[in-house]
């Protein structure tokens, strides 16, 4: 390559398989990243604008389509905002069903992420294993809601479906499978020499930086921040549960805030979610799951409501926020969505600094499973451009893993 270092490496922003297209610009000298920057906001679909011409009962299912992985997250946050405005109280059983489905979502999301992280390290056998066991959670979700993705189970004022006694057997079977699997997952992900050597000490995010940049979810907890919305501001059934934020010390290690710690937090959060679901299933109160059976009555209650509210939920990736304003009309007059990834992406420039080019895939993935941004990387060099495809970047990552095995 002609020309002088440093080189600018732009990553992204568009790839058809991407959940959240994002543009990253890396300045590299040789293999080392000396600075990084990113531009979010490349995936503006106008979904909030679509919401402004629809009533809350329609929007709650529109929100399911914001993210393919966090289906419950957005509909739950939105429903909680509207419930506050319209002064609707969710029945206790509805809260429990919401909690159970939200925790199942966390299990499948963390397993999906674990698989992606293994894939980015070039460890595809583990990727297949993680995605295979993820199917158990997807099947349980399918039993409860009827669909694998886009659950559509949340309604303003509760949930649309109840968890019946005959579903308990299937759900418990799924939970028991995970309990048996947990020791294996822990061993395969946390005791593997290659994963350790690739992840320990890379993508460092200190406690102070995590606080300063308002990182949320497992990304912040891996740096020792004990922030978890389920514990700090309990909602749904979380108030009845005895849960603590998962930080890396749970594995008996120190808090380093590196990629490895993020794996630790997510793996142990799977165990926590299994416990939560079990407790909820045991203690499900009787009664209705929704404030009002008739959808037309929910519609008229929402039509009368006016005011503003913020609905929050601890998504698998961190806190998601929905802000809604209504003024006695069918459609809300304002609706703002802030997903958890948005908060977490801001730590990329920090954790990518000093990283090697081959480590970029796993560091980027350690914050959020959305990684297809590595699809297209161009090294601009005084007019002549070399384009790195996703395959080439992945190859570099795989080769590094192989070098470490030797």
């Amino acid at each position: 390559m002609a020309g002088k270092a440093p080189y600018i490496v732009p990553v992204g922003p568009i790839h058809p398989a991407l959940k959240e297209p994002v543009h990253i610009e890396l300045t590299v000298v040789g293999e080392e990243v000396i600075s990084a920057d990113f531009t979010p906001g490349q995936t503006h679909r106008g979904i909030e604008w679509m919401g402004l011409s629809r009533n809350p009962v329609q929007i709650v299912h529109l929100t399911d389509r914001i993210c393919g992985i966090c289906g419950v997250t957005h509909s739950l946050s939105f429903a909680r905002a509207v419930e506050q405005i319209a002064d609707i109280t969710v029945p206790e059983r509805g809260d429990y069903v919401r909690t159970i489905i939200a925790e199942f979502e966390r299990i499948q999301s963390h397993l999906l992420w674990a698989g992606v992280a293994a894939h980015e390290l070039g460890f595809d056998t583990l990727f297949y294993l993680a995605w295979r066991v993820r199917e158990e959670a997807m099947d349980a979700i399918e039993v409860i809601t009827g669909n694998r993705v886009n659950y559509d189970i949340i309604q303003i004022g509760g949930t649309r479906r109840d968890i019946t006694e005959d579903q308990h057997a299937k759900i418990r079977k799924c939970l028991n499978t995970y309990k048996d699997l947990f020791a294996k997952l822990k061993k395969l992900f946390l005791e593997d020499a290659v994963i350790k050597s690739r992840c320990v000490g890379t993508g460092l995010l200190s406690f102070e930086t995590a606080m300063a940049y308002s990182a949320v979810g497992p990304t912040s907890r891996a740096s020792g921040v004990t922030a978890d919305l389920r514990v700090d501001y309990p909602y749904c059934a979380y108030g009845d549960l005895d849960i603590k934020p998962v930080i890396p010390t749970i594995y008996g290690s120190d808090v380093n805030g590196d990629t490895y710690d993020r794996i630790v937090v997510r793996i142990f959060e799977i165990a926590q979610s299994i416990e939560i679901i079990e407790t909820c299933l045991d203690n499900m109160p009787q009664g209705p799951v929704i404030w009002e059976e008739k959808v037309a009555k929910i519609l008229s209650a929402c039509k009368k409501a006016s005011g503003e509210a913020v609905g929050r939920h601890e998504a698998p990736r961190g806190e998601a926020v929905h802000y809604v304003v209504m003024d006695g009309a069918e459609a809300p007059i304002a609706w703002k969505v802030k997903a958890s990834s948005y908060s977490n992406l801001h730590v990329w420039p920090i954790i990518l600094k000093g990283a090697q080019l081959a480590d970029i895939p796993v560091i980027v993935a350690s914050v959020d499973p959305c990684l297809s941004c590595t699809d297209r990387v161009a090294v601009t060099d005084n007019g002549s451009t070399k384009i790195f495809t996703k395959e080439q970047l992945a190859k570099m990552s795989y080769e590094k893993s192989r070098r470490m095995m030797q």
Binding site: V57, L62, R65, T125, E135, N147, K187, V295, A296, L299
Partner: protein, 146 residues
């Protein structure tokens, strides 16, 4: 990577966890294979069972429908439109025929949330477990329910 070796060995003797293709071996031609299935010479591996609560293609009973249009109000995808059928001629002086309001559902727009089923006061809409709906023409007969 070594803890994984045992897992790999165990997996290699287990049967595949993924769903099987309809044909056990790749046929030379798909139409030829389907023809053989029709003659009873070949066997089709059945698709995976759908769960009991599966939300698939909508079923609409136009005789139960009273044309209130509530389903259109809750459809997030605007997949339902109202159709007004013209007034039929009166049979005699006693007969007072009225314009008939019914709905038409576009499967191509439908997001299968099932909200129209929840709100329908007459129970005219229900859901089938039918999910193999992809076609090239969004206005094909299978894509419009009325």
């Amino acid at each position: 990577m070594f803890p994984m070796l045992k897992e790999i060995l165990v997996q290699s003797v287990k049967k595949p966890v993924t769903n099987l293709f309809p044909a056990a071996r790749l046929p030379k031609t798909i139409t030829g294979f389907l023809g053989k299935v029709g003659e009873g010479k070949a066997e089709l591996i059945p698709p995976v069972e759908t769960p009991a609560a599966m939300r698939g293609k909508l079923l609409y009973d136009r005789n139960l429908c009273n044309g209130c249009g509530l389903c259109m109000k809750v459809c997030p995808a605007h997949a339902i439109e109202q159709v007004v059928y013209p007034v039929p001629p009166a049979k005699d002086a006693e007969d007072k025929p009225r314009a008939q309001k019914r709905v038409r559902i576009y499967v191509g727009n439908c997001i299968f949330c099932g909200q129209c089923i929840d709100i329908c006061p007459k129970g005219a809409i229900s859901q089938s477990p039918d999910f193999l709906l992809a076609t090239e023409d969004r206005f094909a007969e299978s894509q419009i329910i009325e």
